[in-house]
């Protein structure tokens, strides 16, 4: 049992990692230990108390189940989870996609073209410290109450991390690689696409991960502004009705959705960046 080991070999036959199977199984178990402890403590602190403002975990579990498949409370919240989840996901990824489409090219230009940098960089640096939540009133005036404001806030939240990482990335391309490319006959424009862009893909990817994370953070704020659907909307509505178990259910779903979408980006990144010793 203790002698089971997994050996992984890379292409050139060197042993790249020897990780005992046992440790491989232990890691998820260790990761679960802390939340389980919290869950138990939460249970004993709340279960069986009549006027507790926070519901016990079992109530939250039932609420989450009812929210997803129904059959328990059969109220306005039952079997609505997929609607809200889908609404939030589409706003998160929509806003995120717009942010990437704007921030990556802009970041590349600010990083490589001095005139664009001089023109835009100071303004962006000034706007950057303004928290996304502070934009909320203005967003509501400009885009009205509703999903467009949420969309805009998500866009804003994802925009800066992507922009900053892209700018920083392209500004720090190793000069040696530029020299190598030019002595091999790769000039100006094609140098940008064949050297600068791939060289800084890891940096850009870090920005994408951060940006998507922020998009999930901002979505709740965005959806608290009179939107009918979305995880943020459901949390706001449940709060007004003092349905705390549904509030907590919404929080759990946002956490899971954010976690899963981060994993997906990470996996895509690993595939694209398998050449990089820091990512593979």
């Amino acid at each position: 049992m203790t002698r089971w080991r997994v050996f992984r070999f890379n292409q050139i036959g060197k042993c790249s990692s020897r990780r005992p199977l046992l440790a491989g199984l232990c890691e998820p178990l260790i990761a679960l230990a802390f939340p389980l402890t919290v869950l138990v403590a939460w249970h004993f602190a709340t279960y069986g108390r009549k006027y507790a403002l926070i519901p016990p975990p079992s109530d939250v579990g039932l609420a989450l189940y009812d929210l997803a498949v129904g059959g328990i409370n059969d109220d306005a919240f039952s079997t609505t989870l997929h609607i809200h989840l889908l609404a939030s996901i589409s706003r998160v990824f929509g806003g995120f996609a717009f942010a990437v489409a704007a921030a990556v090219p802009l970041g590349l230009m600010i990083g490589r073209i001095p005139l664009v940098r001089a023109l835009l960089d100071p303004t962006f640096q000034l706007l950057r410290p303004i928290p996304v939540t502070a934009w909320l009133p203005l967003a509501m005036i400009i885009f009205g109450l509703g999903p467009r404001s949420a969309f805009f806030l998500v866009f804003l939240g994802a925009f800066y991390p992507v922009l900053i990482n892209t700018v920083f990335g392209v500004r720090s391309v190793e000069p040696r690689l530029i020299e190598a490319a030019s002595m091999l006959g790769c000039k100006a424009t094609s140098q940008f696409f064949r050297v600068v862009l791939p060289a800084r893909l890891p940096g850009i990817f870090t920005g994408l991960r951060l940006g998507l994370g922020f998009a999930w953070v901002v979505i709740v704020v965005g959806e608290m502004t009179g939107v009918q659907t979305g995880l943020g909307a459901i949390i706001m509505e449940a709060r007004q009705l003092s349905r705390t178990e549904i509030v907590i259910s919404g929080m759990i779903v946002i956490g899971l959705a954010g976690f899963i979408s981060d994993r997906v980006v990470l996996l895509i990144g690993r595939r694209l960046l398998r050449w990089s010793p820091n990512h593979a």
Binding site: R176, C186, V195, W275
Partner: protein, 259 residues
Amino acid sequence: MPDAVSPILELKGACKEFMLPGARIEALRDATLTVAKGEFVSLIGASGCGKSTLLRIVAGFEHASSGEALMWGMPIDGPAPDRGMVFQDYGLFPWLTVRGNIAFGPASRGRPASEINETVKRFIALVGLQRFADAYPHQLSGGMKQRVSIARVLANDAEVVLMDEPFGALDAMTRERLQDELLEIWQRTGLTVLFVTHSIEEAIFLSDRVIVMSPGPGRIDSEMRIGLPRPRDVAAADFNELRRELSLKLHSHLARKAA
């Protein structure tokens, strides 16, 4: 255009100055040098003697502050595929495989895909990396990386190969093996090689001619023709004789300064 009268490489009184805040550094003073086609020339000297600067001027990465740098009698303005550079730190593209790195030059110059495939195959075989064709640079040893870097330049039809201490970061065994391989490739292809090193033995072992440079300011001090037949034996008496002679030349400017 190759020109029957002009040598493949020529430096005429090339100088290079760098401006630093509060100081003017004279990296190279009045360097004059002619290299014939097919010649293997080494540049040797202590650090700060301008040997790398000279190489970078020929590569087109630096422009001479005054004087001229010519290839086939035409002024060198900027880097170009006919002068391939092999860097000590390899300068390989980490996101490309061995195959991709070697294909980079031909692909940049818009060669057709079938021709690129053919070329890449040939040069991977030349440096003996068939088994590693799809490996990424971070999976290769230093010696393998330097082989890729040499193949990359050759696959791009370089006439002159500029090598800046290419084997300086390798262990002694790998270094000797690559020296042998380089000589073999050079003899087979008729390349012109300009090779920067700080190893006396390496310079004598490889070169037709060794250019001795000295620092403060960087300049060409003297030169030595190596007439020994190849393959050369580093332990032979005549090799040692040359080693002593070159060592004296290399250190004479120090002695002069002390006197």
